[in-house]
Symmetry: C2
Subunit: 306 residues, 2 copies
């Protein structure tokens, strides 16, 4: 899932116009990206860059095989998502593996997060949305709390499963976010391996940040264990505004990840040269250099076709 | 081996003073780096940034367990290295896997490179230098020639072995350089695996470039197959001046690689925080941001010790 238009743009000092956002999303879809997080239904005072999410969504062409996604964090946000339509409504609960971070970020404890889940499940059910996913932030470590033990992550997944089961639902999709870029390939392998061993049918998705240069190696380690769902941001947009360090790198870069996959013989269905075009557009729109490498080094197609 | 002071600084628009180079090398060694390529004995008109290599070397303190290395490309360069002393004199032959690139870069064919090897072997022997290594540039692909088939790399290693054997020497160290950043983890695994299978006693070293964002993943793939020798450049300095693309990323970044190793439980013997200090010094000295990530995202030690 391409998260640049949401996770990336929300921290940029320059707010893109609705037109510009639509151009970027269209370029991504034209390159073959089939799932894009196009905005978030959050308080426009808190995140002004996302204030036009409804307008962006209304401007997007529905396209066969393409899923638009959006983020919401409270009931009002979900209502807005339902009202605007066109985005896939996913019944995904969220939690955070760091007590300190969840308090700073959402003013709630981990216990409180889980205590609120039944209300969310009811809310989703009332809207006819299947509830079968959970996201976990800071699953690999936290700048405010330090290392996150693997047993804690496993325990929180168990807890989410149990809440879902109590309400007749089943956890099928678990997303793990390396929100502050702590993960290393060995840790990825141990955690993914432990989850696969315990719950072989649970589909994992990773949200990786390149804060300390390991995002591509982490993605490789996860792919070697069969993980094939990743969030990524065009040009490497993004970073965590709440992580307490400025200037750090953002999300794993979409076109670099696609490049690595294609070079390894993994068909992504994406036109890499067109995707690099989208990365250059993103760079032009935000008005500063982005960390992506392939957009500077160039793809290999021009060296192979002559 | 840290190659920043040579491979990195040679392409910088600002030439560091001898004092500055010595400060940088001292900072690297103080952080625990035990092998540093400190300069090159090449034509000062062609590479003005390396004109003071003798002066740099004379200023370096000999330190127990620390090896200083330098590069030479012709007999005159070797003479200078022998004359100045203090650098380890390594009998390493060089070749290039791309016919087009070796012609552009050295005005020689691959055949001519191999034809000149006996003279080099004699020259090294006369100087009392053991000849047991070969370096290969563009071993993973070439901007001027395209893909480099694995069989070609294997064939060139065979050819080097045969030349060495004809002169009573044995190839013990093979360096493979991804000069233009074409390698991907799958290719690394196939090539390294094939070499290990054929010549289990041959020690490999990789010189990786992050031109297309895969350097860390490539290093991981190689380490998984037991490769434990890498060139790397502090801050991610470097890039190939002859590769035909500007603005592309340089060598795999030393402190990012050390960070990944240490986080995975691989003891490097290096003080990462001190190494990040050296990276910040490098950035200050060259006068522009370097691509290294850990120097911006920060190490994890401060989050763990409180």
């Amino acid at each position: 899932m391409e998260v640049g238009p949401r996770d990336g743009l929300q921290i940029e000092s320059r707010t893109l116009t609705t037109d510009e956002k639509v151009r970027l999303i269209d370029a991504l879809v034209a390159a073959g990206v089939r799932e894009v997080e196009v905005g978030s239904f959050v308080n426009p005072k808190a995140v002004p860059a996302m204030a036009d999410t409804e307008d962006v969504i209304k401007r997007l062409e529905p396209r066969e095989g393409v899923t638009y996604r959006a983020l919401w964090l409270n009931p009002k946000g979900l209502e807005r998502a339902i009202a605007v339509g066109r985005v896939r409504l996913v019944g995904r609960l969220t939690c955070t593996a760091s007590e300190t971070f969840v308090k700073r970020n959402t003013n709630r404890s981990i216990d409180r997060t889980f205590a609120e889940m039944p209300e969310w499940i009811t809310r989703y059910k009332e809207a006819g949305i299947k509830v079968n996913g959970m996201g976990m932030m800071a699953a690999f470590g936290c700048n405010f709390e330090g290392d996150i033990p693997q047993e804690k992550v496993i325990g929180l997944i168990e807890r989410g499963m149990s809440v879902l089961a109590d309400h007749g639902c089943k956890l099928e999709h678990q997303d793990l976010a390396d929100t502050m870029g702590w993960a290393n390939p060995r840790q990825i392998r141990r955690l993914v391996g432990a989850i696969h061993e315990r719950w072989p049918d649970l589909t994992l998705k990773l949200h990786l940040h390149d804060t300390r240069g390991t995002a591509m190696a982490n993605a490789l380690a996860a792919m070697e264990l069969g993980v094939c769902n990743f969030d990524a941001a065009i040009g490497g947009l993004g970073g965590c505004p709440f992580a307490g360090h400025k200037g750090a790198a953002g999300n794993v870069c979409t076109e670099d990840l696609v490049y690595m996959c294609e070079e390894m013989g993994i068909d992504t269905g994406i036109d890499l040269d067109a995707l690099v075009g989208a990365a250059k557009l993103a760079e032009e729109l935000v008005g500063h250099p982005l960390p992506g490498k392939v957009m500077k080094g160039g793809t290999l197609s021009r060296f192979r076709h002559h």
